[in-house]
């Protein structure tokens, strides 16, 4: 039986062997990262592809809808906004379950054969990112000074040109919506594992691989993917900060 003494450990509650276990995992992770392990990078690239596709689709559908909701007055508008705000926190497994029931062979969309394919994961991710992008875009459009619209109209802009102008004025908030949408889908695991099935080399994403490899005891592999995910998150945030500074200049 392993006894944790904590005598010479910088972490008093952890024994030397348990710390070694973590350090071994981290060094193993870096070895995998810098040896450009094919499997690790296949997984990372699929995750990026899936997350980017889902963000693009959710944005193309969500931004125009959000603009209409934000700029028009209609019955039930407040209720609709509340629904979108609630759906921002939609549990990923619920989306997974919902989509699974539609995409499984016996489901109404079974003929599309999207279950356990990257497209299936993208579909689930679109549903996850969509309310987030819509909700944040509505807030971004609301934050634009009302004089912007009157100014654009007074300078002869057509309704379409006015919309583009308002969205440009809201670009900082729009970027926040896109980056948040991307962040949500690249980090989610529940929907991806249910709709993708975690098939090696085909539908295995960073998060599903971490879950699987860790459960198998492949701690270094899971750690390597975890570190890459964190680096990706950092890069996304750096890019966001940079764009934010530029847009404010």
């Amino acid at each position: 039986m392993h006894v944790c003494t904590g005598a010479h450990s910088p972490f008093p509650l952890l024994g030397k062997q348990s710390m070694d276990y973590i350090f071994d995992a981290i060094s193993g992770a870096f070895a995998l990262i810098f040896s450009f392990d094919t499997e690790v990078y296949t997984i990372v690239l699929l995750s990026l592809r899936v997350a980017l596709s889902a963000t693009v689709v959710a944005s193309v559908l969500g931004i125009p809808l959000a603009y209409v909701v934000a700029t028009r007055e209609f019955a039930g508008k407040d209720l609709l906004i509340t629904i979108f705000n609630t759906l921002m926190a939609l549990p990923t497994v619920v989306v997974g379950l919902f989509c699974y029931s539609f995409l499984s062979r016996r489901g109404p969309l079974g003929f599309l054969e999207l279950l356990f394919t990257p497209s299936g994961i993208i579909l689930g991710d679109v549903i996850l990112a969509f309310p987030l992008i819509v909700g944040l875009t509505i807030a971004a459009v609301h934050s634009v000074d009302p004089r912007a619209k009157a100014t654009a109209v007074s300078l002869g802009a057509s309704p379409r040109q006015v919309s583009v102008t308002i969205l440009k004025e809201a670009r900082f908030g729009l970027m926040a919506a896109l980056f948040n949408g991307f962040g949500r889908v690249i980090a989610e695991v529940g929907s991806a594992i249910m709709l993708g099935g975690n098939i090696r080399g085909y539908t295995r994403t960073v998060t599903t691989a971490i879950a699987l490899e860790t459960s198998k005891g492949e701690f270094a592999f899971g750690m390597a993917l975890g570190i890459i995910l964190l680096v990706l998150a950092l890069m996304v945030n750096f890019t966001f900060r940079r764009l934010q500074t530029t847009s404010r200049r």
Binding site: R147, A150, T151, L155, G156, K168, R171
Partner: protein
């Protein structure tokens, strides 16, 4: 054909009527000032003329065409003859150049033509080297000038300016006045601007349209008195505290009395007259204005009378002279 013609124009915010103008004609050319106190309806009228607001009732004809009823293409084409500068202008979150070129960009004007027009507009407002500045690196006066340049870059036939000098320092105000005057001097443009500065309107305007509580006031800006209305015996008296005027019965809650300068007759003697108001006063100013003579008489309040050159010669009036003002009760408009 008149530039603008408003017929039975009514605009309401909810239940409140903020503008009620049975008829208004604005001819092309020169500088037209819309004056009146805050809340008098100046901005609303400008917004209606520029098409940013639609009348609740009645119509506005631009060069004989009712924009509200015309086809989208025609509406767009006519709207594009107008340059509009809103009160407390909004600058888009880009450079000065980006702001000034906005209207040109939405009209599909590109390349050297666009650059030349942006450059010229910035030069005209004295901001020649400001093109690359960002929207947030400008003072209040500079923002106002960028907004003016943005409208001028469109080479509009009509320039509508809502209180262009409301939030600027005196140096910028003088500069803006000069810019507007030089624009008028260069011809082929009509400038309609709102202001609550009476002197400015008198200085710049070829025509003054005075609004009071959403209605047109016949007079220019003179003889506007604040006070209260009382019924004494058979007469209704409007009292300002410094002067009393017999008026026709009107709204009991009237707080403002306005007398058109043309309705005040000047006389050396308190002649037997049908006018209910015969008030003695002293001449404090005589000046020529737009071909007529404006005489200011202090009779507790300062009254302005407008007479012809021939009448002045007949009256032989001079500063400090005592005169009688003859004003019919019905000439006093109550609001």
């Amino acid at each position: 054909m008149s530039l603008f013609k408003a017929e039975n124009l009514i605009f309401r915010y909810g239940d409140r009527t903020v503008l009620d103008i049975p008829q208004l004609v604005i001819e092309e050319g020169g500088m037209v000032c819309l004056t009146g106190a805050n809340g008098s309806g100046k901005s609303t009228l400008l917004h209606l003329l520029s098409g940013l607001l639609q009348p609740t009732a009645g119509k506005i004809l631009y060069r004989g065409t009712d924009l509200a009823q015309s086809s989208p293409d025609l509406k767009e084409r006519m709207r594009r003859e107008l340059g509009v500068c809103l009160q407390s202008p909004y600058l888009f979150r880009t450079s000065v150049e980006g702001n000034v070129s906005f209207g040109l960009a939405v009209r599909g004007i590109k390349g050297p033509d666009r650059n030349d027009r942006v450059e010229k507009a910035l030069r005209d407002v004295g901001l020649k080297d400001f093109g690359k500045r960002r929207y947030h690196a400008l003072s209040g006066g500079e923002i106002q000038r960028v907004a003016l340049a943005r409208a001028l870059a469109l080479e509009p036939r009509v320039l509508l300016l809502d209180e262009p000098m409301a939030n600027v320092d005196s140096a910028t105000r003088v500069l803006l006045e000069r810019i507007l005057e030089s624009l008028i001097g260069s011809g082929n443009i009509t400038i309609i601007f709102s202001t609550h500065d009476v002197d400015q309107a008198l200085r710049l305007g070829n025509r003054i349209i005075n609004l009071h509580e959403g209605r047109l006031v016949e007079s220019g800006l003179e003889n506007i008195f604040h006070g209260s209305l009382q019924e004494t015996g058979e007469d209704w008296i409007f009292t300002t505290g410094l002067c009393e005027l017999v008026v026709s019965p009107g709204r009991e809650d009237a707080r403002t009395a306005i007398i058109p300068p043309e309705s005040i007759i000047l006389s050396r003697d308190p002649t037997v007259t049908s006018a209910r108001n015969v008030i003695k006063g002293t001449v404090t100013g005589v000046r020529m204005r737009n071909g007529s003579v404006e005489i200011k008489v202090n009779a507790g309040e300062e009254f302005t009378s407008r007479i012809t050159q021939a009448s002045l010669e007949k009256l032989g009036c001079r500063l400090g002279q005592e005169l009688y003002l003859l004003i019919k009760a019905e000439a006093v408009k109550l609001f």
